[in-house]
Amino acid sequence: MFNLFKFASPATFYPLAGRLAMGFGIASAILLAIGLYMSFFVAPTDYKQGEGYRIMFIHVPAAWMSMLIYVVMACWAAAGMIWHTRLSSMMASSLAPTGAMFTFIALWTGALWGKPMWGAWWVWDARLTSELILLFLYIGFMALESAIDDPRRAARASGLLALVGVVNVPIIYYSVQWWNTLHQGSSIKIVDGGVESSMSEIMVWTLLVMTFACWFYTIAVALCRVRSIILEREANTSWVKELLQGAKS
């Protein structure tokens, strides 16, 4: 724990984040290459859905990431509120755009997948609807943060919003599911097991590789973003000035 707190100081974290971002970035690129190769050429054609199902290999990891990132973001926000560490709130805000991006990808690929499967670009399915609401939550977080000029207030206010959001996410999710089962006519039946039950081992592996690629990508991008946030917020401190001096000469 002590080590962690040592790295909670932006000055020590900045160079470390640079090295980590590089490492995770390379790992993510390699995994993504392998994962894409596997999803297009190695994984077999699905007997029910044909080739169209392959979009799952990006859709499912994106949907997982979108939810996970929000929870991780809320954890960072909570840590920032409890220990008043500047770095925690910076981490929270650096994750938000990536989370929103994955949410958008999940929605978009979901629509692309939905057209051949359900015959409609959009259906008011419980998971699609929750995903849409999650996108609103991400956008609210980013909008609030950018509307506040003072970076300290912005970090604290958006952190609180993330916490309020994370308490509400399960409630929203279950209410949307309930709403869906109530209103769902017999016209559209979304059989979730359609893919997964018939999923071969190689499909599972491909999905895992893609998920890890997304994971590493998120970490790498968040670290890059947190580095620029650190520079921006700590612009007046001596270590940043020294760093910039070094970069110029």
Partner: protein, 222 residues
């Protein structure tokens, strides 16, 4: 403690009474929004009856939100908010008092108006009562959750639009169960499940939202 709560409620109600037009604006907004729907979708009685609960509920969300921006803004601008932060009472209690007053001013009139609007849409008997009951349980939740958004966006440019972006997603469960209860009772299914879930949400909001709003106020007043 209760004396402080009562004092806050009375203070805010007195202020609202000296600005009666603000209260009426919210109610008329509610009525106008509801009345626009038949003009938009056509006078088909069957369709309107099916839509009634959803329309009234969505209008209630919007009306409640319209009045939210003023919940703390006036107190913030004239400096009374910082004085309220400094009284020797739990800030959550002060917030609760303000929220309660806000509900009496902007939520309760909607509840009382709703049967009239329900009639316009062809709802009858039990459905009208159900509409009123759901609004009675649901509108306090709107005020409680809305207070968090209002506190977070205090003094920001474009605060009104921002507040809707932050708060509307949080309103979704109330909307689903509120409108769902009316639809369920119209379809002859019991609405007890909906109502007890709404009650649970109300209790949860009552327990947590004042604290969250209090924390948000401390951040925003700084």
């Amino acid at each position: 403690m209760l004396a402080a709560l009562r004092c806050m409620v009375i203070r805010d109600l007195t202020l609202a009474m000296r600005h009666r037009s603000d209260v009426l604006t919210t109610v008329f907004f509610f009525i106008i929004v509801v009345s626009l729907f038949p003009l938009g979708v056509g006078p088909d009685a069957q369709l309107l009856k099916e839509m009634a609960a959803g329309v009234v509920w969505v209008a209630a969300l919007l009306a409640s939100m319209l009045s939210l921006t003023r919940l703390f803004a006036d107190d913030f601008n004239d400096g009374t908010l910082e004085q309220l932060l400094l009284v020797p009472q739990p800030l959550a209690l002060i917030v609760l008092g303000k929220v309660l007053a806000h509900w009496i001013i902007s939520g309760l009139p909607l509840v009382l108006m709703s049967p009239l609007l329900g009639l316009q849409f062809g709802l009858e008997g039990d459905e009208l009562i159900m509409l009123m009951v759901t609004l009675l349980i649901g509108t306090p939740v709107l005020s409680l959750l809305g207070a968090i958004g209002a506190a977070l966006t205090l003094g920001l440019r474009g605060g009104g639009v921002l507040v809707s972006l932050l708060v509307l997603p949080l309103y979704i469960p109330v909307l689903i169960f509120g409108a769902g209860a009316v639809t369920a009772s119209a379809a002859g299914m019991g609405a007890d499940g909906h109502l007890s879930l709404m009650g649970a949400i109300l209790l949860l909001a009552l327990a947590l939202a004042p604290w969250a709003s209090a924390a948000a106020l401390r951040i925003s007043v700084e």
